[in-house]
């Protein structure tokens, strides 16, 4: 699997996902600077975490308008899988690849910690190595991860099986305390209609090495490599 990581000014977790992808696929991902006019051929496009353009104005807004995003949207429309993690989720949502928006955490504070996620579906290229209902532990690190969409959109997402992950308690149950950023219906990640675009706030890439304290992100990348080999 050849993946391409888009690097914006202010991206800062590009190396984290680079390392995770390299460990899973044995192949170095390409890092693509946002001003490069050509997006190389890739089996997977990743928009990494960070603070693209400082997250000034609105998280992800300026990067979403970057010329390379037109190319990313075209590839996504043609079926190339796109993964947006954290700031990447904010960017692809601002760019219209996914519905809704990410508001400030309900605490109005940045938070960095391990959270539990419940896998909502295993029927996608991103989650095939997990079981539906399985609970995994991965880190989050964001200030604006509070997923918002109107009720009709939320109903549609749920009806179409497009909720990928929810914040949950260690036993998989949903409660306010586990949903620390206040996301609508505890949503941590969503798919597009074809389930080839995933945006999520947590960082599975930071749970892929024994020294990182959790290996629960390994199946995420292993599944992708298997699906896109």
């Amino acid at each position: 699997m050849q993946s391409a990581i888009i690097v914006f000014p202010g991206s800062n977790r590009e190396q984290d996902v680079f390392d995770a992808l390299q460990r899973a696929s044995g192949k170095k991902p390409l890092k693509v600077w946002h001003r490069e006019s050509q997006l190389p051929k890739a089996d997977l496009i990743v928009i990494p975490g960070g603070f693209a353009y400082g997250d000034y104005l609105r998280c992800g807004a300026m990067a979403a308008n970057s010329p390379i995003m037109r190319e990313v949207k075209a590839r996504a429309a043609a079926g190339t899988p796109v993964l947006g993690i954290c700031n990447g989720f904010q960017i692809i949502t601002e760019a219209g690849l996914l519905p809704g928006a990410l508001l400030a955490n309900k605490t109005l504070k940045f938070h960095c910690k391990s959270v539990h996620l419940r896998i909502e579906t295993s029927q996608t290229i991103f989650t095939s190595r997990y079981q539906a209902g399985q609970v995994i532990a991965v880190p989050v690190a964001h200030h604006d991860g509070n997923y918002f969409a109107d009720d009709a959109t939320l109903d549609r997402l749920e009806g179409e099986g497009r909720v990928a992950f929810r914040y949950c308690a260690p036993d998989g149950s949903l409660d306010d305390a586990s949903n620390a950023n206040g996301s609508a219906r505890a949503i941590a990640g969503i798919f597009n209609e074809t389930k080839t675009v995933l945006g999520l706030m947590p960082h599975p890439e930071d749970a892929t090495h024994p020294l990182q304290g959790s290996l629960d992100g390994v199946p995420f990348f292993a599944g992708l490599v298997e699906a896109l080999a």
């Binding site: 000014p9 800062n12 001003r35 940045f110 960095c112 930071d206 090495h209 990182q212």
Partner: protein
């Protein structure tokens, strides 16, 4: 809204010099050097170069006493940051710096720009920053300003560090009324570089271009360096300059651009523009090279129209660097900075005249000799009086309280309460190499493409320093050494941040001298040299000084990151062993302060030989894989240490009662050089300890969900955790734990 004195129109002279913070004698010296009265720009340059902050005029004679060399020291104090050898051709580059006064005035921006400044000191030397730490000291929680200051400082540190993508992995946070009017915000950055790719600040090559890169210059923080060198008074509000605002996004670009340029062969010298901005950067670069410099100030990228030469030279706008390039490499360098969308301007030339000559709008704005500006800077041997020694306090003279109740009080007191509320606001995981996270003894950060890791910590116990500066100075160094040892790493070197009151008062200089003496002794005994540091004096408000606070930032190395241990109990049934001798020293302890409302007695003695022997033993046991968890015993004493291990692991322990010393001394005494180990191989560990002459005492076993003390009752780990975690979030929400406002 413009209360700013339009200083460009004021006649320069003794009156203005005094306003700029120069004494009459210093002004006379400036006139002598110039052979005439300096104009306002020149006077501004004298005032910042000769400020306490830049010249170290009160502290230099004392700093010389610190040991700064060692087999792995590549570059000690004198450059932007210290450099040590960490093997495999790699170096660790680190420093700590204060932003105390700005953070008191504007906590968010003050703290944020503090982080930005220390990052620049590290990457200007060619290092990629891999970790930040921060040592914070606030006033009493009851003081009306404290909550606002904590909220702003923490948000500012997070706001900057999170955005630049450098993990903030450690630090400390204490509260004491002596900081009510003068908080301490000390930030530390650690970076790594290839040893053959380290960049220094001495200019060379007359004719070489002087390049300005980064953000534009505005009227930010003019006279910040002199502000950091003057005592606060209530009217500080009125005098304050335009506060510097940090732009972490620009900093991130600057890091990437500088490191990209540093891969090539274009840079002769590079220096960040920190306190005193363009003035200190240009004077120091040319001065260190024994050369001169000319600057055309019209070419400086400016954010505001109509800035005077004085303002351009003294601006403390953030996110700016000055470089001297090799001839012919300007275009290559420009392309890099243009890629990162940063300003890039050739503003001058290195000369062989030994003078700094500034021109603006066709006129000479300043023309001064550099060498005397640097070498004839004032240097004071300030009078000092030693802090009177305090009587030792015997445990028998201290009231004994019921141990479990005392533990509950201690674990929830502001200094010992969990600081999770703080470090969860810091991205401590970005870069994916944080092995030991905040909340333990030292943070451990794995190195890229290597099995190795660095162990990082900051520490100081100001109440000990106030009671006995020499013991306190030694203790601060020893505690960082112990914290690094407790994760299994070998301590290598330190940086320091000397925060003290007004050096013109002999008792303050006495504290300074005492702390230096203690630090020196500990550094020598532990082979743990000082490679960089910072001094912040005049930390006083209306004549009341802070507790002497020499913060130590320690760096150690692990050959194998996977061998590091944390403090969390890992499994039930492990034997808990106390390493080190316990005499039950309660003087200056938290038990004394939090339970009995007393702060008297002498602090615990620091036996550096025992420190070294015990630490070397503990480290060897960890590296041999026999230790499941390790924690050093410090603030609060043994029972607090055990409770912290239990809470972190969610596993209880049962402990036997001690014999021979009063139980409150045993459980809450703060004797030094001690660790608690959890092991499944107790016989081997005890035998090795006996062989090494290290005191070792079996305390009991891990297991269950309670902390049980034979004969004294028990408490559930859940209740302890609740007490320990509740205080800070409740306090920040404006509540006391019992629900009152």
């Amino acid at each position: 809204m413009t209360e700013r004195p339009s200083s460009s129109e004021r006649p320069a002279g003794p009156a203005l010099a005094a306003e700029f913070g120069l004494s009459a004698e210093e002004y006379a010296r400036a006139v002598a050097i110039m052979g005439r009265a300096p104009n306002i720009t020149e006077l501004g340059i004298f005032s910042v170069m000769w400020s306490e902050h830049c010249s170290y005029k009160s502290s230099k004679n004392w700093l010389k006493k610190l040991p700064t060399t060692g087999p792995h020291v590549i570059c000690g104090p004198g450059e932007n940051a210290g450099v040590i050898d960490i093997g495999d051709g790699m170096a660790a580059i680190f420093k700590m710096e204060s932003h105390n006064h700005p953070s008191f005035i504007e906590p968010y921006q003050g703290a944020a720009t503090g982080v930005g400044g220390i990052l620049r000191d590290v990457f200007t030397m060619g290092a990629r920053p891999i970790a930040n730490l921060n040592a914070l000291r606030f006033g009493s929680p009851d003081h009306p300003k404290t909550r606002h200051l904590v909220a702003g400082v923490v948000a500012g540190i997070g706001g900057y560090g999170n955005c630049v993508g450098v993990p903030t992995v450690g630090g400390e946070c204490n509260f004491h009324p002596s900081y009510n009017g003068n908080i301490l915000v000390n930030a530390m950055t650690v970076g790594i570089a290839k040893q053959d790719r380290i960049f220094y600040s001495a200019a060379s090559g007359p004719g070489n271009p002087v390049i300005y890169v980064g953000a534009k210059t505005g009227r930010d923080g003019i006279h910040g360096a002199t502000m950091a060198s003057a005592e606060f008074s209530e009217d500080a509000e009125a005098k304050r300059p335009t506060v510097q605002v940090g732009d972490p996004f620009t900093e991130k670009l600057l890091i990437e651009a500088c490191l990209e340029l540093m891969e090539g062969d274009t840079i002769v010298a590079i220096q960040d523009m920190g306190a005193a901005g363009l003035t200190s950067a240009s004077v120091e670069m040319a001065g260190k090279g024994g050369l001169g410099i000319t600057l055309d100030l019209d070419r400086v990228p400016m954010r505001e129209p109509g800035m005077s030469a004085y303002e351009v030279m003294l601006s403390e706008s953030q996110e700016r660097m000055l470089m001297v390039l090799k001839p012919g490499s300007e275009d290559k360098a420009r392309a890099v900075f243009e890629k990162w969308e940063l300003d890039f301007a050739r503003i001058g030339t290195i000369t062989d005249t030994g003078r700094i000559i500034l021109t603006m709008q066709g006129a000479v704005a300043a023309d001064m000799p550099i060498e005397p500006l640097v070498t004839q800077a004032p240097l004071y041997d300030r009078t000092y009086t030693a802090t009177p020694a305090r009587a030792e306090l015997r445990a028998a003279e201290v009231e004994a309280r019921e141990p479990i109740a005392a533990l509950k009080t201690l674990i929830a007191c502001p200094d010992l309460a969990s600081k999770r509320w703080i470090w969860e606001q810091y991205d401590h995981l970005v870069m994916g190499r944080t092995v030991q996270r905040p909340g333990g003894d030292a943070a451990v950060v794995a190195l890229p493409d290597s099995a190795k890791a660095l162990a990082l910590v900051s520490d100081c116990t100001p109440r000990y320093c106030a009671a006995d500066p020499e013991r306190g100075g030694a203790q601060a160094v020893a505690e960082t050494w112990r914290n690094i040892t407790a994760v299994g790493a070998t301590p290598l070197a330190i940086t320091d941040n000397m925060n003290f009151g007004n050096p013109e008062r002999p008792e303050i200089m006495g504290q300074f001298a005492g702390c230096i003496a203690g630090m020196r002794a500990a550094c020598l005994a532990l082979d743990y040299p000082v490679v960089s540091g910072n001094v912040s004096l005049y930390n006083e408000t209306n004549g009341t000084g802070i507790l002497p606070t020499p913060v130590i930032g320690g760096v150690g190395i692990l050959a194998d990151a996977a061998k590091s241990v944390g403090l969390a109990l890992k499994h039930p049934g492990d034997t808990l062993i106390l390493i080190g001798e316990t005499k039950g020293h309660l003087g200056c302890s938290l038990y004394l302060r939090e339970l009995l409302g007393r702060e008297d007695g002498a602090p615990p003695p620091v036996d550096l030989a025992a420190e070294r022997r015990n630490g070397d033993f503990v480290r060897a046991e960890i590296v041999a894989g026999r230790i499941a968890a390790c924690h050093d015993v410090s603030d609060g004493g043994l029972l607090v240490a055990l409770a912290e291990m239990a809470m972190a692991g969610g596993i209880g322990a049962s402990l036997a009662a001690p014999a021979g010393i009063p139980i409150h001394g045993f459980l809450f005494g703060e004797d030094q050089a001690r660790y608690v180990l959890a092991t499944s191989a107790p016989e081997k560990v005890l035998a090795n300890a006996a062989a090494a002459g290290v005191p070792a005492l079996v305390l009991g076993l891990s297991g269950g969900d309670q902390l049980t003390l034979a004969g004294c009752g028990a408490i559930s780990v859940g209740e302890l955790t609740q007490l320990n975690e509740a205080w800070l979030p409740m306090y920040m929400a404006g509540q006391t734990p019992d629900g009152r406002r």
